[in-house]
Amino acid sequence: MSYAIRAEGLVKKYGDFTALDGVDLEVPAGKVVGVLGPNGAGKTTTVRILATLMRPDAGHATIGGHDIVKDAVKVRQLIGLTGQFASVDETLTGTENLVLIGRLLGLSRRDAKGRAVQLLEQFSLTDAARKPIATFSGGMRRRLDLAASLVGRPRVLFLDEPTTGLDPHARQEVWEVVRNLVADGSTVLLTTQYLEEADQLADSITVFDKGRKVAEGRPGELKRRVGGQVLQVRPTVATDVPLVSQMLAELSGHSPAEDSGVLTVPVDDPLLVAAVARRLDGAGITADELGLRLPSLDEVFLALTGHTPTVKDTEPAAA
């Protein structure tokens, strides 16, 4: 299998703080890998190293077979980067920004203009082509940022938290763009704090924590690895929550977690669902929601990194 991105033992320190502590990464060509983790996990540092913005203190990496330190210029000819910070010029228009990038990449004035028009059309920014970026909405800016990183038709694209700070609608727009890129054969490395985003877009997910890779796999694999199904119950009447919580504790032997009227408890015995249903019925309590589900990626992440209490350990807040 050919790898678009391959990194071994990347280390980066800022003074005493170890941002990356020996990270390996392999991304097959044409795939999307999601790098997931909280602030300070080392996601951005990884992207900055792979995109040749900084050098690793130890370890090495290649993009399309080219070393990121020794062959940095070749790597830069292969990659596109959209960072967390706006990388377009506020005072210039959408077209001017894209034409500038095209000119820098060696396109003729005419070709650069053509490419800009093409990208603006693809990113539904044609109407905004003549307006300064300062007038753009957050979603439009991010799309233009993405467009700017695509002017050179990169084979490997780095997206560092591409939807952070965007509203749900704008986030959907960016997801759509990424999906289209992938359909197209580009390799994408995407960092995100949104588990849903990684779940939606990535072929595989790598979980970072404190500069280390703590897990990787397909979204489904990760969910399974954390194991156990959970039972969720939402009593129709909110005042029944304490009583139902007590029942669940008795039947399952675990303290249920409560959030916004939904009780969650780990399931050890498949018969638990039926038992809970009977008890509720017997007590004359109705539930709007009663069912089994696999843990969400939120729970997967928390279980893997252990930063915050997992569902199993959480005491019911309102019991």
Binding site: A86, V88, I101, D259
Partner: protein, 303 residues
């Protein structure tokens, strides 16, 4: 934004992997980025207001406020002394603005974009430095018009005037690398501006811009003799009023070369290392940022 429309163009790579940047490419990238800066000035000419107003105020102040005292009562003679000097001072002041504007650029992701592209590393800085020629030209044109109105008359020919303009702009371009370096190092626009203003004070005031060196105290005269501002002013005076040029010109050129030789590499080194380093540096200190909040918000239902 459908899959069909996006499919074709993005897939095929167009760039030939050469692995190096030639000198010709460096020049062309720098010029393209200078064009970016130039366009920005054209879009918001308000950015030129400082380089137009400062020299007006300086010239009026020195001629009418201090001119009586310093020029020994002869305003016309003083104008002849002070106009070339104020030109030097004004382009020098205009040249320090670049550090602040580059520091502001550095706080966005625009340099990350440039650094991740196969372009000459120095191009974004060289481009920005060259774009400021617009500021120097605006500044000099303003001064010439005002000086003529105030009664200043050129004593030489247009070739010498062009030479003087070239020297003034060259001086500003060379010395702006000090500001570029500070901008890349400090990354705080306000601090850079403040620091540079302090730095240029002893250079401009302890010079022959406002008074003849013969009227200075001995130690001040010694400093003024080697002060680049004095040397450039001397050459510009020679080129505009008539008189000796060589000593001032050679001294200026040596200074310019030395400043570029020292500050260009320093600025490039600071630029390579610069760039927004996000939460990664001090993870706990940023817990109130929106990015951190988005994570909390997402995890909240579980706790």
């Amino acid at each position: 934004m459908s899959a069909q429309t996006i499919a074709a163009p993005v897939a095929a790579p167009t760039v030939e992997l050469t692995g190096r940047i030639t000198f010709a490419q460096t020049v062309s990238h720098s010029l393209a980025l200078a064009g970016r800066g130039f366009m920005k000035f054209m879009k918001s000419p308000i950015q030129l207001v400082d380089v137009i107003l400062t020299p007006i105020i300086s010239l009026l102040m020195f001629v009418y406020l201090f001119g009586e005292a310093m020029g020994g009562g002869n305003t016309d003679a003083y104008i002849e002394l002070v106009v070339p000097g104020v030109m030097v001072m004004a382009v020098f002041q205009a040249s320090v603005g670049i550090g602040a504007s580059l520091a502001a650029d550095a706080s966005t992701g625009i340099f990350d974009r440039f650094r991740s592209m196969p372009i000459a590393r120095s191009a974004p800085l060289i481009g920005a430095v060259l774009a400021d020629i617009v500021r120097y030209v605006a500044c000099l044109v303003t001064l010439v018009v005002l000086a003529l109105v105030m009664g200043y008359r050129f004593g030489t020919n247009p070739v010498a005037w062009l030479g003087a303009s070239a020297l003034l702009i060259g001086f500003a371009l060379a010395f702006s690398w000090m500001s570029v370096y500070l901008g890349m190092l400090i990354k705080n626009p306000t601090s850079v501006q403040g620091l540079m203003t302090i730095l240029i004070l002893p250079l401009t005031f302890a010079s022959n811009v406002f008074m003849k060196e013969t009227e200075m105290a001995g130690w001040l005269q010694a400093w003024s003799d080697v002060n680049p501002v004095s040397l450039v002013a001397e050459a510009v005076r020679g080129l505009l009023n008539g008189g000796p040029v060589a000593h001032g010109l050679y001294g200026s050129l040596i200074w310019m070369a030395a400043v570029v030789a020292v500050f260009f590499p320093l600025a490039m080194r600071a630029y390579r290392k610069s760039g927004p380093r996000p939460a990664v540096q001090v993870p706990s200190a940023r817990s109130s940022s929106h990015r951190s909040a988005s994570w909390r918000e997402y995890a909240a239902p579980l706790s």
